[in-house]
């Protein structure tokens, strides 16, 4: 801080230098990053016009085409629901492994944690690629990709709910002479049920979005016709599909939010 009475600055000299070099470093990184992309400036400059042009060709949406996408849309919904259901079935044991208070031993706990973080770290489209190789193109690959991808997320949140279980009521029921199964039904399940339902609906909402794109690698759903129409430059059909996806996503978001609010 300076001593003269008519000058003041927010930072002292050292802080100012630090900030200056921080900013400079940020800018250098940004410029370096941009240059590393080796962008064709011809493309970059015309990008806004190309985009505007594209939207111009999309409009108006092809209304007649909408009949043809009902099937793929239903398939998308089916994939999202089955994928979520399967994910939960697989996530429950993983959650019990990955919750510190229910895991039988340390290696099992670590295994649970590993499954949770590994399945989460591989993007759904990569899982879809893998399952298309295994089961061939189609919705089966999609369902499996969605479900495996979702294990980590669902198991993690369910495990957190399990960890917050009130041990008191477990003890009370055990003290009344209940078997482990009784404890599960009368104490554990009621305690984690709200978390469970909200995790399921939240994940389903995410999976609806994911189900719209796994078709790009042949794993079923609305992504298949979307890619086809894009490749054939049927832009008006593309807009029809995009609008339908937008509607589907907004509706599923609303349903999911409603259900979560209801169980809270």
């Amino acid at each position: 801080m300076s001593n003269s009475t008519d000058s003041w600055s927010r930072f002292d000299r050292r802080e100012r230098l630090l900030r200056f070099f921080g900013l400079l470093a940020g800018l250098v990184i940004l410029v370096a990053a941009w240059r590393a992309m080796e962008v064709n400036y011809g493309y970059a400059v015309t990008a806004p016009r190309e985009l505007a042009d594209l939207f111009g060709r999309m409009y108006p949406p092809n209304v007649g085409y909408s009949r043809e996408i009902v099937g793929p849309l239903l398939e998308t919904i089916n994939i999202s629901i089955l994928g979520t259901a399967l994910a939960i079935v697989m996530a429950i044991p993983v959650a019990f492994l990955g919750a510190s208070n229910t895991s039988p031993n340390k290696p099992a706990y670590l295994l649970g944690k590993f499954i949770i973080s590994f399945t989460r770290s591989v993007n759904v489209i990569i899982w879809a690629l893998i399952f298309v190789v295994i089961f061939g193109p189609g919705a089966l690959a999609g369902v499996l990709a969605i479900s495996i991808r979702s294990i980590g997320f669902t198991a993690k949140l369910i495990a957190e709910a399990i960890e917050e279980i009130d041990r008191g009521s477990v003890e009370a029921i055990t003290a009344a002479g209940a078997s482990p199964i009784d404890v599960l039904i009368y104490s554990i399940v009621p305690q984690i049920k709200p978390a469970f339902i909200s995790v399921a609906t939240l994940r389903w909402d995410i999976n609806v979005r994911a189900s719209t794109i796994i078709g790009f690698v042949g794993a079923g759903g609305i992504g298949v016709p979307l890619q086809t129409e894009i490749n054939y430059f049927n832009w008006e059909a593309v807009l029809t599909i995009l609008i339908s996806i937008l509607g589907l996503v907004l509706i599923s978001e609303a349903i999911s939010a409603y259900l979560r609010k209801k169980v809270m």
């Binding site: 990184i29 940004l30 990053a33 941009w34 590393a36 992309m37 080796e38 962008v39 064709n40 493309y43 970059a44 015309t46 990008a47 190309e50 985009l51 042009d53 594209l54 239903l74 398939e75 919904i77 089916n78 994939i79 629901i81 089955l82 259901a85 973080s117 590994f118 770290s121 591989v122 993007n123 489209i125 990569i126 690629l129 893998i130 190789v133 295994i134 089961f135 061939g136 189609g138 919705a139 089966l140 369902v143 979005r209 994911a210 719209t212 794109i213 790009f216 690698v217 079923g220 992504g223 979307l226 890619q227 894009i230 430059f233 593309v238 995009l242 996806i245 937008l246 996503v249 907004l250």
Partner: protein, 271 residues
């Protein structure tokens, strides 16, 4: 839980349900089951195909292991990863710069109703479309390569960043703005002194968070041709070079995990 009903017979008790009555409850459960059955049937998953698939899966896994790459593939791998990281940085920067004004538009306390609705619509559209859909369209618009990926990631950044920042702006203390206005400040000065300092920590936190998310996405948009490591991965699958595929996936997982760790750490430091 003590829902008394007049018709209850002494010595019998029924658990009250969230549905209107038991019949409705079972009806709903039945419908749900039916729907699952229909979904399953609709996908036409034949058991024989499933069984064959398991065999193929075992084969695939064995052919994937151990992960491996030739020297020239290693160069491809490094190049792809660098491109993904570079795309992440540029896209996050562009996305945030565009997001801030959108966030102001989409906050009901700073914007008049028509502007507010425009802002919310931008947020809704940019949120709803999956990044790969945006990427595939961008590829058609500006050609193959990282530029398409950057545009797609920046577009998706708006939906996330502007939405959460708008929520933060809606919670600010208006008094601080009012004081600047009362001193004769222009609207821009009021934003600079009365709003920005209040939301700055959130902007920094969200930026780090979004950097992490964009890093994840940058590894896959290549699958539709929008630059980064994704295209290398797709090519390796197309060439049945599964050992290389596995190597790429392993590197992606490692990078994603490191990114997540660094981002979490940085956000904790700030708070």
């Amino acid at each position: 839980m003590a829902a008394e009903s007049g018709s209850a017979v002494e010595g019998s008790w029924e658990r009250p349900t969230v549905f209107y009555n038991k019949k409705v409850k079972y009806l709903i459960y039945g419908l749900i089951l039916l729907f699952f059955a229909y979904s399953f049937w609709n996908l036409r998953i034949s058991p024989s195909r499933f069984v064959r698939g398991i065999g193929a899966g075992v084969e695939l896994v064995t052919s994937m292991l151990p992960p491996a790459y030739t020297p020239s593939q290693r160069d491809l791998l490094i190049q792809g990863i660098v491109e993904s990281i570079v795309m992440t940085i540029v896209a996050t920067t562009i996305g945030i710069i565009v997001s801030v004004p959108v966030a102001v538009m989409a906050s009901n306390n700073l914007s008049p109703k028509p502007v507010y609705y425009v802002g919310r619509s931008i947020v809704a559209v940019t949120r709803s479309l999956h990044e790969l859909i945006v990427a595939i369209i961008m590829v058609k618009a500006v050609g193959f390569g990282p530029l398409a990926g950057v545009l797609a990631l920046a577009f998706k950044t708006i939906g996330f960043f502007a939405k959460l920042l708008a929520e933060e702006i809606e919670d600010i203390d208006r008094g601080q703005m009012e004081a600047i206005t009362a001193a004769g400040g222009t609207p821009v000065q009021t934003y600079l002194y009365g709003v920005l300092p209040q939301v700055m920590p959130r902007i920094v936190g969200l930026s780090i968070y979004r950097l992490d998310i964009n890093l994840r996405h940058s590894t896959v948009v290549g699958i539709v041709g929008a630059g980064g490591i994704g295209i290398t991965l797709l090519n390796s699958f197309d060439k049945y070079d599964y050992q290389f595929s596995m190597a790429i996936i392993a590197v992606i997982v490692a990078i994603v995990m490191v990114g997540e760790g660094v981002s979490a750490l940085a956000r904790r430091r700030i708070q």
